[in-house]
């Protein structure tokens, strides 16, 4: 592929580099300096941490939890993906499955965890009132594991669904025609073909678990400390910035390892697993699952769907009655609060989300274009650096921003600007990836034609590239909107009285006995995000964007 060398590429690259330096590399280096420098290089902060039993336990627990959630989430995602693409589900069935499965993924934080207490706690709706169990323990490892698995298995589902759907069914058919039994076909054809996807799903879900701060805050208790929550407590509870920074470093190492593993997988994907050949393959009804297998998958997935639905029905109920469990008369009081006392948070969140969309979308497309189509020194390094804030858990990014931007010359905490910046550099990657994917399908000759007709780089970009990558721009902006509506782990360190966020109000509602208000805020966020996903997919269909409009692209982590 010929790469563009143009007088405007250099200034564009310099601008993007400067932004990344200031808002990614600078805060991260401040974090590392705080951890490892005290009038000279030192390991005392990290050593001090490891002398504390809760922090040692947090390190071990975080890794354990990531592996367990990764495994359980991938297994569950695989079961759902098999059910969706290998069991002749009617179209509406698949849609319904998607709608429920995606619920936890688009919900604001805390919702699933809180609902789970009331569904499966000692006097839970399911555990006690349906099954008559007493003394169920929902706090600690078991509850955190369950809640995170339910929240993050949809990532595995979306990844694996795409992988399974792309496996050419004729391969399975040939195995059958050679006389193989179903189980043998599954074990020797389907599973090996899906294995890279499984590995990727495991890494994505593990990373999500490792970064999760909201679930353990509610469910882990003191018996099961984990790193992101511990770092938050160290700063907001014990006012120990250095300790918090050092905890971030402990979290940073496994997070980067997982990200590196996932990158490797993405780069190898083009290898020997390509089954989409472009040659027409026979239309075949895949029969790789026996009716019994389909039935058992349906039961497992059905139970999970029921559990998810019950959790969200509890939230919906809590938002619509006066006081759940005490006064169950219908009332719109909590919604009235959302649109009166809570209106500022709703407005702030929407303003920030909407401001983020064009800025982040444009940043994503420019970055994607620079990376995919141009040549300048440090291009690969820029590609990597721009991914750092996305790859790291939000707690680390939030604390790094707090360290870097709390004092002059760059006292930005408390402003809307810092929140926008945080989202743009954390959630633009989806748009960048979509841009490079779209550009890969477009012959550079089109841009060269524009250049040979005398257009400068910026004109070509505006009049040729931008219209072509419109779907990617839209996808990137939708992701930004969804994340800006639901994020908390980084921004909880950056909000202020002037700029509040709905997710923070949800946390406050839960801690201040306002379950009804917290639930009403949650329902509102879920509805807005659903709306955004629907609008985006309709718009994508209009633009003939194909797979970019799928939920997987918008929500797949």
């Amino acid at each position: 592929m010929s790469r563009v060398r143009d007088p405007v590429v250099a200034p564009a690259a310099v601008l993007v580099w400067a932004a990344v330096l200031l808002f990614v590399l600078y805060p991260m280096s401040r974090l590392l300096v705080l951890t490892f420098w005290n009038n000279g290089p030192t390991l005392e902060a990290v050593r001090g941490l490891l002398e504390n039993w809760t922090h040692r336990a947090a390190l071990v627990n975080s890794l354990l939890l990531a592996v367990l959630v990764g495994s359980a989430g991938t297994a569950l995602g695989f079961a759902f993906a098999l059910l969706a693409v290998r069991s002749h589900l009617p179209k509406w069935g698949e849609r319904a499955l998607d709608a429920v499965v995606l619920l936890p993924l688009i919900s604001p934080p805390f919702t699933a965890a809180i609902a789970l207490i009331f569904a499966l706690g000692p006097r839970g709706l399911l555990s006690y009132h349906v099954f008559g169990l007493t003394n169920v323990n929902i706090y600690g490892l078991s509850g955190t594991l369950l809640s995170e698995t339910l929240t993050y298995f949809p990532i595995a589902y979306l990844t694996l669904k795409a992988v399974l759907a792309n496996i050419d069914a004729t391969l399975e058919d040939s195995a059958f025609s050679l006389g193989a039994r179903r189980w043998r076909v599954f074990a020797t054809v389907t599973l090996p073909l899906a294995s890279p996807g499984v590995a990727n799903a495991f890494l994505l879900v593990s990373a999500a678990s490792l970064a999760d701060f909201a679930t353990p805050l509610i469910l882990a208790g003191t018996k099961f400390p984990v790193l992101p929550t511990q770092a938050f407590l160290q700063i907001t509870g014990l006012y120990d910035m250095r300790g918090g920074a050092a905890l971030c470093f402990l979290l940073l190492v496994p997070a980067l390892a997982i990200f590196a593993g996932q990158r490797r997988w993405l780069e190898q994907r083009g290898g020997s697993f390509v089954t989409v050949t472009g040659k027409a393959s026979a239309a075949t009804r895949v029969k790789s699952l026996s009716p019994a297998a389909i039935a058992s998958l349906a039961v497992i997935c059905g139970l999970v769907v029921v559990l998810v639905l019950i959790c969200y029905l509890i939230i919906a109920a809590a938002s619509m009655v006066r006081g759940l469990g005490a006064d169950n008369s219908l009332s719109l009081a909590h919604y009235a609060h959302v649109f009166s006392g809570g209106l500022k948070a709703v407005r702030d969140t929407l303003v920030i989300a909407i401001v983020c969309m064009p800025i982040g979308g444009l940043f994503a497309v420019v970055l994607g274009f620079l990376v995919a189509r141009t040549e300048f020194p440090g291009r690969r390094a820029l590609e990597f650096a721009a991914m750092i804030n996305y790859a790291l858990p939000g707690t680390i990014v939030g604390i790094a921003y707090l360290v870097a931007f709390n004092d002059p010359p760059l006292a930005l905490t408390g402003t809307a600007f810092i929140l926008v910046v945080c989202y743009v550099f954390r959630y633009s990657l989806a748009g960048t990836r979509a841009t490079t994917a779209v550009l890969a399908q477009i012959d550079p000759a089109i841009e060269e034609a524009s250049a040979s007709l005398g257009a400068r780089g910026d004109v070509t970009f505006r009049r040729v590239v931008l219209p072509l990558v419109r779907p990617a721009l839209l996808a990137g902006m939708t992701v930004l909107f969804i994340r800006a509506m639901t994020a908390i782990s980084a921004t909880i360190f950056l909000v202020s009285l002037d700029w509040s966020l709905v997710t923070v109000r949800i946390l406050e509602g839960i801690t201040n006995l306002e379950l009804g208000q917290a639930s009403a805020f949650s329902v509102l966020v879920i509805l807005l995000v659903y709306l955004a996903v629907v609008v985006a997919s309709v718009a994508m269909r209009r633009l003939n964007a194909g797979s970019l409009g799928r939920a997987g692209t918008l929500l797949g982590g």
Partner: protein
């Protein structure tokens, strides 16, 4: 505060002493706050410390025993109120106003105080050094000490006690407070020892 329905089910009276909470009947039924994140938890630790005649080791020892009955330490002080109100725990050790608020919402909660006594905390107000709107801030602070403002606590069901003796008090709170034995707290000592008390809680009480 305790969930009345659960107490009745187990045929228990509301706990009336710190010692009552060690009863195995409460095993896995007590929720209270984490000392690293919650001021309420610090008040609890102080209450126990003063109730045990400032014998720190005995207070820690008691907390270790209490820990065996604790279901979970929530991150915020009032975090146990909703779970207790919805019967996920029988007892929630928290500040009195949280309990009153739950009752107001219609939850059947019983408020009780340990007879050994409890520490009370006073909400503070301070002027930030070098504040931009110093004059306005001073005015605001003066207002918080006025009867006008403190009467609002009763009017808006905040359930906190006013510091001015002539300010109006919620009737339910007033009768409730007759049962409470308030222990004098040496705030200066607390300021100097807070960090150590929390550290002992982390390293001795909850470590198991």
């Amino acid at each position: 505060m305790s969930n009345a329905k659960l107490l009745k089910e187990k045929n228990l009276k509301p706990p009336a002493s710190w010692m009552d909470l060690l009863d195995p009947a409460y095993k896995g039924q007590i929720q209270t706050a984490d000392a690293r994140t919650s001021g309420t938890a610090l008040t609890r630790i102080l209450s126990i410390y003063y109730a045990f005649g400032k014998d720190e080791d005995r207070a820690v020892d008691y907390q270790k025993k209490l820990h065996r009955n604790v279901q979970v330490y929530t991150k915020s002080g009032g975090g146990c109120t909703i779970p207790a109100a919805l019967a996920q725990a029988m007892v929630c050790i928290a500040h009195m106003p949280d309990a009153m608020e739950a009752k107001k919402k219609g939850y059947d909660m019983v408020v009780s105080f340990p007879r050994e006594g409890v520490a009370a905390v006073i909400e503070g107000v301070a002027l930030v050094k070098g504040a931009r709107n110093r004059e306005l801030a001073t005015k605001f602070i003066d207002w918080t000490f006025s009867k006008d403002m403190q009467d609002l606590l009763d009017k808006h069901d905040v359930y906190m006690l006013p510091t001015l003796p002539d300010a109006s008090i919620d009737a339910a709170v007033q009768s409730l407070m007759k049962e409470a034995k308030l222990l004098p707290v040496d705030l200066e000592w607390v300021g100097k020892n807070r960090k150590r008390l929390v550290e002992r809680w982390v390293n001795e009480v909850i470590k198991e």
